[in-house]
């Protein structure tokens, strides 16, 4: 692996390798001193062209727990505001000897463009509506922990994962479609037709019109964040109607597997795409939402570890 740009291009073997490494990283996170010298003397740069709390923080902490120097560039304070192109910014980061660049960008393909102009490993932390591969990986880890805790081969076959909501604009939905199906799971998409992309049959998923059909027997239910501006663009009549038709609630979950795991990539609109009771695991189903965030740090440590060559004196895991 030279870079992590998306799970569509990542082999099942590489996905298993990252996830197995993430399990070891979780051991580090459970220590009283959460620090290993693995990436001492290495520099990790996060280059975020979009706002983010959890992804950026978890990458930064992942780097720091492994003793790398982590630098954050937020675009508002960078030369991008002076009109610098993405490729020039990446070449500048290469020149200041960054060992890995983590990029989030509103344009699909931005991480590919970055990787095409530098030998520095690039991690895609979300590009437009294209992919968010570390989210897909942390979701796979969370699902495995609940449904296949003993599966060291990461085989998720037989599991049904239903993703509900604004899949058209969701990079999480795409990364999960690739990542989970490569591990054997079945992925369903469901939502209003205005939020289902044309040509969805190009992905390894099945689209469902009715929420109850989509949730039927589902082992995992993932609600996607609904951007309120979808309403303004004429894709939805109202948040109220959306919530009634597509919200994940105790009542809509009745057709799912009795032990269904509920996930959400965050940040949540409580009461819109997910009810507060379901989000907090008080509706009789399991909520994995807190576990997703915890696993995010471990998965990102694994990605940094596998993409950056550890220093000679660095401890190997």
């Amino acid at each position: 692996m030279d870079s992590l740009l998306g799970l569509r291009q990542t082999s099942a073997a590489d996905i298993r390798r990252i996830l197995s490494t993430a399990i070891s990283m979780r051991d580090v996170l459970e220590r009283s001193v959460k620090k290993v010298p693995t990436l001492r003397g290495r520099a990790v740069v996060t280059l975020f062209y979009e706002a983010s709390t959890r992804t950026r923080t978890s990458f930064e902490l992942a780097a720091k727990y492994m003793s790398a120097d982590a630098v954050n560039i937020s675009v508002a304070q960078s030369s991008v505001t002076k009109g610098e192109s993405l490729t020039d910014t990446i070449r500048t980061l290469e020149a200041v000897t960054a060992d890995c660049v983590i990029i989030r960008h509103p344009s699909a393909g931005a991480a590919h463009l970055a990787a095409s102009c530098t030998p520095v490993p690039i991690i895609n932390a979300g590009d437009g509506r294209h992919e968010h591969p570390t989210q897909g990986l942390l979701d796979a880890l969370t699902i495995r922990d609940v449904w296949r805790p003993d599966a060291t081969d990461w085989d998720l076959s037989g599991l049904i994962v239903t993703i509900v909501g604004d899949v058209a604009h969701s990079r999480v939905a795409r990364s999960n479609a690739w990542g989970l199906t490569k591990l054997g799971a079945t992925v369903r998409w469901c939502g209003p037709r205005t939020l289902i992309p044309a040509g969805a049959d190009g992905l390894p998923i099945t689209v469902y019109d009715r929420l109850s059909d989509a949730l039927d027997g589902a082992h995992v239910v993932m609600a996607l964040r609904l951007q309120t501006e979808r309403q303004e663009r004429g894709l939805l009549p109202s948040l109220r109607e959306y919530s009634r038709c597509w919200g994940i609630t105790a009542s809509s979950l009745r057709s799912a597997h009795p032990d269904a795991l509920v996930l959400h990539p965050g940040p949540m609109n409580r009461g819109v795409e997910i009810s507060p009771e379901v989000a907090d695991g008080r509706a009789g189903h399991r909520s994995g939402i807190g576990e997703q965030v915890r696993n995010g740090v471990a998965v990102r440590m694994a990605c940094l570890y596998l993409l950056i060559k550890p220093t000679a004196e660095g401890e190997t895991l």
């Binding site: 192109s85 393909g109 509506r129 294209h130």
Partner: protein
């Protein structure tokens, strides 16, 4: 003074001619096509083993001058045209300032006379500054030499403006060339809506946006009697609208570009901005439907939509890169290799689609080797195989999706008004 091109394969679809012959040129015009050696001349050149055709005509190019000379100018754009076998081009008005006044029309004609190596016919904008509001001074521009009217790149959205513009042009006998797009359906779109766009996470441009735009403009042509030419047809739906309108006697013609006939939306994979243009590359089913529309003569002509952009403008995020690709230097060879040699159309058809057909759409001189016509001639070597190397282009820009392609057929030289233009 007479000049003879001797012993070449003379192919002229305007007079159903395909034979080994001599082409005799006198004072910048075609004198005669004669049996080999039958006519003496002051000068001569052997064209043995070469193909002699009417000079190719591209009625849809962007020369970028005035205003965007860093992408292309009249000198380099016509040099690219000559290298591709074109002896005349029609340039679109989205310059800066736009071709919306007599002074810009005259400027282009004068610049082309001074530095051009192909004829240049300016296309006037329909509305002032191409803003879709007030009509431009079209009659004045026609008198100054504008060959047609177009809103290319900024399609008029307001139906009332389009209706009035076409009424006005009908009276002047000017053809209106339309980029067909209902932009309320294409906001933020970067490539064809469908499977590949969804895989790549890019906002889509639906085929129906073109179909609706074309259908609307055909309705106005029917109402006003204005001659309508549909630019760069990329969808099977637009081809179908064109076919039905022609059957109904509406004065409408249509063109497509070589890239829509040999590429589909998957060429954008890897975020290849050199495969980004508007209208976008469509589905494979559209591509094959367009080949069918060439075969049954629904589509009248090929044009390139030559749209130069600087390397740094294309080397960026896909959704932020400008639309458009080069065409002049690859169109003939792409057509010859992938349409003629592939067996979809005959060589005679390809030359027709690129010479007499476009000339006839806009009533331009040329496109024929009939006696008395301007001596605008292209000479090709069909046996030459070459690899597309953008760094060798005459164009200032490099944005082609055909880089690295192996193609057959190459222009050796052209004659423009009898003056030899070496490649």
């Amino acid at each position: 003074m007479t000049f003879a091109l001797r012993n070449g394969r003379v192919l002229d679809p305007s007079q159903d001619l395909d034979e080994i012959a001599d082409v005799i040129v006198r004072d910048g015009r075609i004198e005669a096509i004669t049996p080999v050696g039958a006519h003496p001349s002051d000068h001569e050149e052997s064209a043995e083993g070469l193909l002699i055709t009417p000079g190719l005509i591209d009625i849809h190019v962007h020369l970028r001058e005035p205003g965007f000379e860093y992408k292309e100018d009249i000198e380099t754009g016509t040099a690219a045209a000559a290298a591709g076998g074109f002896t005349a081009v029609c340039c679109m008005p989205n310059t800066n300032p736009a071709i919306d006044s007599v002074s810009v029309v005259r400027h282009i004609i004068e610049r082309a006379e001074a530095v051009g190596v192909a004829r240049v016919y300016p296309i006037a904008s329909l509305t002032r500054a191409m803003e879709g509001g007030q009509l431009a001074e079209i009659a004045d521009m026609q008198a100054a030499g504008a060959c047609a009217v177009s809103d290319d790149a900024f399609p008029v959205q307001n139906a009332e403006t389009m209706r009035r513009g076409m009424e006005y042009c009908a009276q002047l006998g000017l053809t209106v060339m339309t980029h067909n797009e209902d932009q309320s359906l294409t906001k933020d779109g970067a490539m064809n809506e469908g499977r590949t766009a969804t895989l790549m996470g890019l906002p889509g441009i639906p085929a129906i946006a073109e179909d609706i735009g074309a259908a609307r403009n055909i309705i106005f042509a029917r109402l006003t009697g204005c001659r309508l030419h549909l630019l760069h047809i990329s969808t099977s739906g637009t081809a179908l609208h064109l076919q039905r309108a022609k059957a109904d006697g509406v004065p409408v013609t249509g063109e497509t570009a070589p890239h829509y006939l040999v590429l589909d939306e998957t060429a954008c994979e890897g975020y290849n901005t050199n495969a980004k243009m508007n209208p976008p590359l469509r589905r494979e089913a559209d591509r094959t439907a367009l080949i069918g529309a060439l075969q049954d003569h629904t589509i009248d002509a090929l044009a390139t939509d030559h749209a130069p952009h600087a390397v740094y403008e294309k080397e960026r995020e896909f959704d932020r890169a400008p639309f458009g690709i080069l065409g002049l230097e690859t169109a003939f060879a792409v057509g010859y290799t992938h349409l003629v040699q592939a067996g979809h159309i005959g060589l005679n058809d390809l030359i027709r689609l690129m010479s007499c057909a476009p000339a006839s759409i806009l009533g331009l001189p040329g496109g024929t080797l009939k006696p008395g016509a301007p001596a605008d001639i292209s000479v090709f070597d069909l046996t030459e195989c070459w690899t597309v190397r953008p760094e060798l282009f005459r164009s200032k820009s490099r944005n082609t999706p055909f880089a690295g392609w192996d193609l057959s057929g190459r222009c050796r030289y052209t004659l423009v008004g009898g003056r030899r233009i070496d490649v």
